[in-house]
């Protein structure tokens, strides 16, 4: 598992560096804790720029929109954010956390 993720981790770091070098505002979002069933492992990352472009994944789909929005705020105000996405079994399908898990995501600006 861990090593399948290695190439992906490199791609995120490379993208963050490339966007920063191009003068874009950049934030990194990292899964720091999961409860229950979660499609993405702790340590999974998403890189976001100030226009909302992103690469990577923290949930396998449906919370990415919310994370990108918060990440853009972090790029603007420089403040890190700790986001909680908890879902009940009933809601789980709707946000893509198929088995009812929850995820905590740390968002920080690259500065």
């Amino acid at each position: 598992m861990a090593d399948a993720a290695v190439g992906e981790a490199d791609a995120i770091l490379d993208r963050a560096a490339a966007w920063a070098a191009a003068g874009r505002g950049v934030a990194l979002a990292t899964v720091v804790k999961t409860w229950g069933s979660s499609p993405r492992a702790v340590g999974s990352q998403l890189v976001v720029d100030d226009a909302g472009a992103f690469e990577g994944s923290v949930s396998g789909g449906c919370i990415e929109g919310a994370v990108v929005m918060e990440a853009r705020r972090t790029i603007e105000d420089g403040a890190p954010r700790l986001l909680d996405f908890g879902v009940s079994d009933e809601e789980a399908w709707d946000v893509g956390l198929a088995c009812g898990g929850s995820i905590e995501v740390f968002v920080e600006k690259l500065a």
Binding site: L13, A79, F106
Partner: protein
């Protein structure tokens, strides 16, 4: 994350060096740990060293605050010396376990793409091959040729390296002779003691795939214990 942190992580990744990034989740701490050292209190460094060993990123508490350690270990690598019958199932199992596998065998008739279609093959002499690949702490070395001319040079390089697993196929008697040769070559007891021989956990199986499984299981144990 500081730009400097990102630069150091990327530099370490490019050179296959294990590295960890540590952050306090209120944003007050952003540090890099390399070689088990970094600008952090000792209790935090201990958490980070264990995380690197376990290859597991996780959150933790320190002095009332929440922190996160993210592990960036290089990919696991397995170097198999000897394109023999056990190599085939071992390569498949190791690939499934996430290893980048290289098969080393200078005997052209053994290491053919027909027999081993899904693996990087190196036909240099084993010591040259291992030197060129660069054996590090995320690398396992397994010698399977039964031929001292091929196995011993690979073991010489492996025992001078930080390989987390060094295994050599052969019976106890074969290994006793191997030990004599290694002593003559100047290796001490501690170095020679790193060799797993007879190779593999004692699962009782004798079929090639069963021996491969015993080796893969022993590699996994060595990685985490």
């Amino acid at each position: 994350m500081k730009a400097e942190t990102l630069a150091r992580l990327r530099a370490a990744r490019g050179e296959r060096r294990p590295v960890a990034r540590v952050a306090a989740l209120d944003g007050s701490v952003d540090a890099v740990v390399e070689d088990g050292e970094g600008p952090l209190p000792e209790p935090v460094l201990e958490v980070v060293r264990a995380a690197l060993k376990q290859n597991r990123s996780h959150d933790f508490e320190h002095e009332g605050g929440r922190w996160f350690v993210q592990v960036f270990n290089p990919p696991l690598r397995l170097i198999v010396v000897g394109a023999v019958h056990i190599s085939q199932p071992l390569i498949g199992m190791a690939s499934g376990l996430g290893y980048d596998v290289t098969l080393v065998d200078p005997r052209g008739a053994f290491a053919t793409a027909q027999r081993f279609p899904d693996v990087a093959i190196c036909d240099e002499w084993p010591d040259d091959a291992l030197e060129a690949l660069g054996v590090d702490g995320r690398t396992a070395v397994v010698t399977l040729t039964h031929d001292p001319k091929l196995d011993d040079p690979a073991l010489h390089v492996a025992l001078r390296s930080e390989a987390f697993y060094v295994g050599a196929l052969g019976s106890r008697r074969t290994h006793a002779k191997r030990v004599e040769r290694l002593v003559e070559a100047g290796f001490d007891e501690a170095a020679i003691g790193r060799i797993r021989a007879p190779i593999g956990l004692d699962l009782g199986g004798r079929a090639p795939a069963e021996i491969a499984l015993a080796i893969a299981a022993e590699m996994t144990e060595a990685l985490y214990r």
